[in-house]
């Protein structure tokens, strides 16, 4: 009923007065962790920051680059180690200060500083220098062809404002401190902060002086953001017309939302792949019933387990068609992804059984599967389904599902032998996947490689990617690395996640693959 009233109101407003105050009530499962744009590298935090602050470059809903505070960018002619960014002119912060090259230098240096959560994305940057008021040069430690990909969540702060409020140091969340910037904002973005109570409610209103006010719809003039943790309550809030837009719609409720008059569901593939990892590096593993050897170190066993997974059934039943079965652990957005590799995911229990028998495990073995229950879409249900599928080939799986805060340390500390993990690729490049998931674990790389897999030859290839400027040669290397990963069945891919946004039908938007709605693109009306 409320929705209808709102609709009527919207119609009235658009016909009678044209654009007027339009509030968008927005809910998702979690809240932003801090307002300091460099203190956390995490989805909900970046999403809120994207409304208030802006990076040099953003990604639109197709994942393509779009100019934000930079108008254009290119490697410097004659020096492959330097990127040149031309900045947008006439941009002001919410407090009226001008946006200049100095702010970019300041912001990048801030984001590279000790407490910043963004610094890992900027390790290749040696120096940032302003050549004039609206031109900035990024000097890297070698040619870095994918530098722009690392800047799409790197927000620009005003040097003067930040220094005046002694917030130059990034908020040290870990050291437990608050700074002026963690509870106040001054960005160039389309919205400015009105009020905020963490985990309860955040209100934003539109920025009248926004540089892009003629370029973007900017129909939304006020945003009321409420995190609603419990999925049923979140859906109920949308169904009863108490909110206009929700992220994280549970897959089982998509039908209900779509069938409700006045509500629509929008879906798009997410830049995230879900898979199982296996501890193949250990000589013997603790969580199985086989003594003295490690069944997972045999590639045939890994292959068999992968063959046992019925990805179509998971898609149809667990995910209600809201997933894309995967054959490799790279989402289709990523450079290096190929349709052939991603398609190699057929289920073949008979072949799997014979592989198991070849490997000497014809009678199977038992193992524990560690799984998060609050991180990925239906994570626990997927693992549960896998338990049944593994049972088909004699692998008895003991499922231990737990909150993410208990799950991820297991991977980190190598305390799990069989685990679920999901991986998003913000740089849209395979190198990112290899660095974290394939490279031998050491201080710099492989921090999420819980498989114990170590291949010096592959490591060398991975390390060479970051400075290979010849794109064709680089892509060739990427292809080589992938073929080893696939042959070894390093991981058991499950699927690429699909994102679902639910909204009232007057909200017009596309779903962004990063799950970060940018409300300046939203259109409202009829």
């Amino acid at each position: 009923m409320k929705t209808k009233a709102l609709l009527a109101l919207t119609l009235l407003a658009t016909t009678a007065m044209g654009a007027s105050a339009e509030t968008l009530r927005w809910a998702r499962a979690g809240d932003s962790l801090t307002l300091d744009p460099h203190a956390q590298n995490e989805g909900p935090t970046h999403t809120l920051a994207h409304q208030i602050y802006e990076p040099l470059i953003i990604r639109d809903h197709s994942g393509a680059f779009q100019a934000a505070l930079a108008t254009d960018w290119a490697p410097k002619e004659g020096d492959p180690n330097v990127w040149v960014f031309n900045l947008r002119q006439g941009v002001t912060y919410h407090d009226g200060a001008d946006f200049t090259a100095e702010d970019v230098v300041f912001s990048i240096n801030r984001a590279k500083s000790e407490n910043s959560a963004m610094k890992e994305l900027l390790t290749s940057i040696v120096e940032v220098r302003a050549t004039d008021d609206h031109t900035v040069e990024f000097v890297t430690d070698g040619p870095n062809p994918i530098l722009p990909s690392n800047l799409t969540n790197l927000f620009m702060m005003d040097k003067g404002w930040t220094e005046a409020n002694s917030a130059t140091k990034v908020q040290d969340i870990a050291g437990g401190e608050t700074t002026f910037a963690s509870s106040n904002t001054n960005g160039t973005g389309p919205f400015q902060l009105v009020s905020r109570e963490p985990d309860v409610k955040t209100v934003l209103s539109s920025n009248a002086a926004y540089w892009g006010k003629d370029e973007f719809p900017l129909d939304v003039t006020e945003i009321v953001y409420t995190p609603i943790q419990n999925a049923a309550t979140r859906v109920a809030a949308l169904l009863s017309g108490e909110v206009d837009f929700i992220q994280d719609v549970p897959v089982q409720d998509l039908g209900r939302v779509a069938d409700t008059s006045g509500l629509v569901v929008k879906t798009a593939p997410q830049n995230r792949v879900i898979f199982f990892g296996m501890n193949m590096g250990a000589d013997d593993i603790a969580n199985d019933n086989v003594d003295g050897k490690n069944p997972l170190s045999d590639a045939r066993v890994r292959k068999a387990m992968s063959l046992a997974v019925n990805r179509d059934a998971i898609k149809k039943v667990v995910m209600r068609e809201q997933s894309q079965p995967a054959g490799m652990i790279a989402p289709p957005f990523v450079n290096g992804w190929t349709a052939e590799m991603d398609a190699s995911s057929a289920t073949d229990v008979e072949k799997a059984k014979s592989l198991m028998a070849d490997a000497g495990y014809g009678d199977g073995f038992s193992i524990q599967l560690d799984c998060p229950n609050d991180r990925y879409i239906n994570d626990e249900a997927i693992c549960q389904a896998a338990v049944g599928m593994m049972a088909q080939i004699g692998v008895t799986v003991n499922l231990d599902a737990k909150p993410k805060a208990q799950h991820f340390p297991l991977i980190q500390n190598k305390e799990t032998d069989f685990y679920m993990l999901g991986w998003g690729v913000p740089t849209y490049d395979s190198e990112y996947i290899f660095n974290f998931l394939v490279h031998t674990r050491n201080d710099e790389r492989g921090s999420w490689n819980g498989t114990g897999y170590s291949n010096p030859d592959l490591d060398a290839k991975i390390a060479s990617l970051s400075s290979e400027t010849d794109l064709e040669k680089r892509n060739g290397l990427i292809g080589d690395i992938w073929s080893v990963v696939q042959d070894e069945t390093l991981y058991i891919p499950i699927h690429h996640q699909v994102l679902n946004w639910g909204m009232t039908e007057n909200v017009k938007t596309e779903v962004s693959p990063e799950d970060d709605p940018k409300f300046k693109f939203f259109e409202l009306g009829g």
């Binding site: 049923a232 169904l239 089982q252 149809k316 626990e380 549960q384 003991n398 909150p403």
Partner: protein, 315 residues
Amino acid sequence: MAETPIEGPDRPSRLAQFWDGDFMWSFRHAPVAMVSFAIVVVLVLSAIFAPLIAPFDPFNPATLNLMNGFTPPGEPNAFTGDSFFLGTDDQGRDVFSTILYGMRISLFVGFSAVFLAMFIGILLGLIAGYVGGWVETIIMRVADIQLTFPSILVAMLIFGIAKGITPAEYRDQMAIWVLILAIGLSDWVQFARVVRGTTLVEKNKEYVQAARLIGRSRFAIMLRHILPNVLGPVLVIATISLALAIIAEATLSFLGVGAPPTKPSLGTLIRIGQEFMFSGEWWILFFPAITLLALALSINLLGDWLRDAMNPKLR
């Protein structure tokens, strides 16, 4: 499994006395009590004999076919053509079988937790009442604190710690035992209070003093003379605690500290089922919830009647 219902003391003379006259008369004239009793008996029996009654074994993952998921009650599945009496859940498990097996776990947890609480409560209550002195002070102090400290928080604390110190490979099986421990430990106080109260009264009675004079040991006196007198009120508390324990298990499962989804209890089934409340698969929530309701309500009604029956003044 230790699912024998509590049937009072094992001494026939007392038992006969207990079931004598008033009590049975009251039972025969309370239709609500009789119906409740019948429901509880049927549910408990079907839980005990679940492996014989249930058409499927939902705890054996090898028998599951994921494609059977979300089959409505009595209708054939769109992919496999299989049909299930009460439908299937999100994993393709037969809801009817899963409820029977789940109830087995719920009842096991409930009964065991109550036995644990009863054991601790009676023991400490007897000691406190009979021994007195600083022992009593300490016991009753702890009881006071325990009483004010909310049971679900106690349960969460115990669950958190126990899960942490259990080796990973046993966690799956441990969950049930930890639940029993958590619920049982948060529930002993009422027993202790009642037992202590009765003990204080009884210990000064002549027959107890006489027993003491003829040289009976403290332990024997407590066991033979005082204990039988407290069994009535203990039975009432135990019945109501049983319903509470079953509900507590369900609540804990909502907070993520319940039975694992691969071996679900009724509470876990409800927690999973409520996710499908808006989506039209009502049977996944409805049947487990109605079973839990029937079970807990019958036990509660029985406890209610029992309390009145034990207190003839109220009749």
